[in-house]
């Protein structure tokens, strides 16, 4: 083993050691001073009763035949005292407590990637990807496929089976057979032969998307932005010449023109063009710097949010978020 890999291994052990010691101290401290990772809830009763017209309204005195259900509200730490628990008005929610622990453990699994790739990270990553894919598929079926395709082709069935509020007065809309056929053609991608059939709906989809986007970009990013870039360089206000507004207008014009000249390769970048292009590079660099700064801010905000969750909802060192 060479010196650098040995130093890396030692450093790795030391960092893991520090993290585990700090984590263990925090967990023990939290468990000895608060109800670590516990979620307590209060039940809330809901009841709706129907009037003569069949319209439902809320009622405090439910009777048989009314619709009733219970929801559970989380009790904040600040309100959770031993007296409240002893009174029996709150109960420990095992499902939410287990969910909280899983969320905390998976957060730690994901953060462990910073120390190095490991099986815990891989497990958490696979679970996130799988859960997201499954969730998106279910949402797609119930929010899009059922109401916007099946509901158009078999409105009576969809209204009876899934969506009682759906308007069926338009009847079966046969035009929707076309997207149904395109979907079936797309599924040929999964067949061992006949994969070429799926290229037709893919081509259709790409064509539609390209056309849609082209219109959007031409109107909003080309024409409107050219218009927004043509501004008076000498700005006057109520008190005459407005220095900063004029300065901004000149800066905008110089930055736009110089950055565009940098990307204009039909003329060799030397002399006046070269110098202008160099100014353009500076403006581009400042823009990239601003983007980098904003990106860092975003990432730190995400880290702060996860730490607020760990220190607040889980360990109860700070009020829950």
């Amino acid at each position: 083993m060479d010196k650098s890999s040995e130093a890396s291994k030692n450093s790795n052990t030391l960092i893991w050691g520090i993290i585990f010691i700090i984590g263990a101290i925090m967990l023990v401290w939290s468990m000895s001073t608060s109800r670590t990772g516990q979620v307590w809830v209060t039940p809330e009763q809901h009841a709706f009763t129907a009037d003569a017209d069949g319209k439902y309204s809320a009622t405090d005195t439910p009777s048989s035949g009314d619709i009733e259900w219970v929801t559970y509200n989380v009790v904040p730490d600040s309100e959770l005292t031993q007296e409240v628990i002893d009174s029996g008005s709150v109960t420990l929610s095992w499902s939410r407590t287990i969910g909280l622990w899983l969320a905390a453990i998976f957060t730690l699994f994901i953060l462990s990637f910073l120390v190095g790739d490991n099986p815990a990270y891989k497990f958490a990553e696979a679970l996130v990807v799988g859960t997201s894919a499954g969730y998106v598929m279910v949402i797609g079926i119930w929010d899009v496929f059922v109401p916007l395709l099946l509901g158009k082709l078999a409105p009576g069935f969809v209204q009876t089976a899934f969506l009682p509020g759906m308007d069926v007065s338009a009847g079966t809309q046969f035009l929707y057979i076309i997207p149904a056929i395109l979907i079936i053609m797309l599924l040929f991608q999964l067949m061992p032969s006949g994969g070429w059939i799926s290229r037709w709906p893919i081509a259709f989809f790409i064509g539609i998307t390209a056309g849609y986007r082209m219109i959007g970009y031409v109107e909003a990013d080309l024409v409107a932005q050219i218009k927004a870039g043509i501004v008076p360089l000498w700005v006057t206000g109520e008190n005459g010449f407005a220095f900063w507004a004029s300065f901004n207008a000149v800066l905008l014009t110089v930055a736009t023109l110089s950055a565009m000249i940098y990307f204009f390769f039909s003329v060799e970048h030397k002399g006046f063009i070269g110098k202008t292009a160099r100014i353009g590079i500076w403006f581009l660099m400042i823009t990239f710097g601003a983007s980098f700064g904003y990106t860092v801010m975003g990432r730190i905000a995400l880290l702060a949010a996860r730490l607020e969750f760990l220190f607040g909802d889980w360990l109860h060192f700070i009020p829950s978020s």
Partner: protein, 283 residues
């Protein structure tokens, strides 16, 4: 010393960054916030509307951006609720509806006088991104026949007279990418002149500023602008300042300051090491 610094394990930097963020979070450090003119543009776009104006709020983000965008989304909800605007929620991302539900939870717990269907309502997720926007600018019912509870739009008081989103007084888009603010600008704000404001991630913010003021009435860029927006609401409506949940973005600016200071220090240190190494012929 120079050799140690040259070969320092990057994980020490990660650990120091973790501590730089964790300590202010634990210490609940909050710094004063100065409200910028850009944030005031967004605030005024909502504040200047008369009570009962129709506002479409599209939450185009998912849990991956929740830490950065949820505070501003919640601030939008609180501001619209205080002002008594009609709030229409939707999402162009499949994982957006749970984010909308968090705002609806806020309305139900903090503004119990507001009634679902009369003051606020929610549409389901629909796939298609810009195609959804394009469709609802012409025909709302062509895309959303029912609300998220399965009730026909014709039976909901606040939607029965809405033909399309050109009937909205303002669009608020909270965006983490594509589809998001760019698509709302391209397919709603620019072609139909619907007043639109955006709250977006830091990564997107520099691409959105050129749309101000013609195509966007204002942009909240990342958590800093969200903190400024919270401060602006606190100034005009002091009662909200005592609600700790309404100060989430301001709380997250404490770790930002310490972490950014650390990062600036590390960039300067890295450059010093590079130039010294080059001078000594080690680089």
């Amino acid at each position: 010393m120079l050799k140690i610094l040259q070969n320092i394990d990057r994980r020490w930097v990660f650990l120091s960054m973790l501590l730089a963020v964790a300590i202010p979070v634990l210490a609940k450090t909050v710094f004063p916030v100065n409200i910028s003119p850009q944030t005031m543009m967004v605030f005024n776009a909502i504040e200047d509307l008369p009570e009962g104006s129709r506002i479409l709020l599209s939450y185009d983000f998912d849990p991956a951006s929740q830490g950065e965008l949820l505070p501003m989304a919640q601030a939008f909800t609180r501001h619209c609720s205080i002002k008594g605007h009609k709030q229409y929620y939707m999402a162009l991302w499949p994982l957006g509806p749970p984010m909308v539900d968090l705002s609806i939870d806020t309305i139900e717990s903090e503004y119990p006088n507001l009634v679902y269907g009369e003051d606020y309502m929610k549409f389901d997720y629909k796939t298609g991104g810009e195609a959804v926007i394009r469709m609802i600018t012409q025909d709302l019912r062509g895309m959303f026949e029912l609300d998220s509870k399965g009730v026909s739009l014709d039976e909901i008081p606040m939607t029965k007279n809405i033909k399309n989103i050109q009937d909205m007084d303002l669009i608020i888009n909270v965006s983490a990418g594509d589809p998001g603010t760019k698509q709302w600008v391209q397919f709603a704000a620019t072609p139909f002149g619907i007043t639109t404001v955006s709250g977006c991630t830091g990564v997107q913010a520099p691409q959105m500023y050129p749309y101000i003021p013609e195509q966007l009435a204002g942009v909240l860029g990342a958590i800093k602008a969200a903190a400024e927006y919270e401060a602006a609401i606190d100034e005009v409506y002091p009662s909200i300042a005592s609600n700790p949940k309404a100060q989430e973005a301001k709380r997250r600016m404490g770790p930002q300051l310490v972490a950014h200071s650390l990062m600036i220090g590390l960039i300067i240190l890295g450059n010093i090491i590079f130039f010294v190494s080059r001078k000594r012929g080690l680089a």
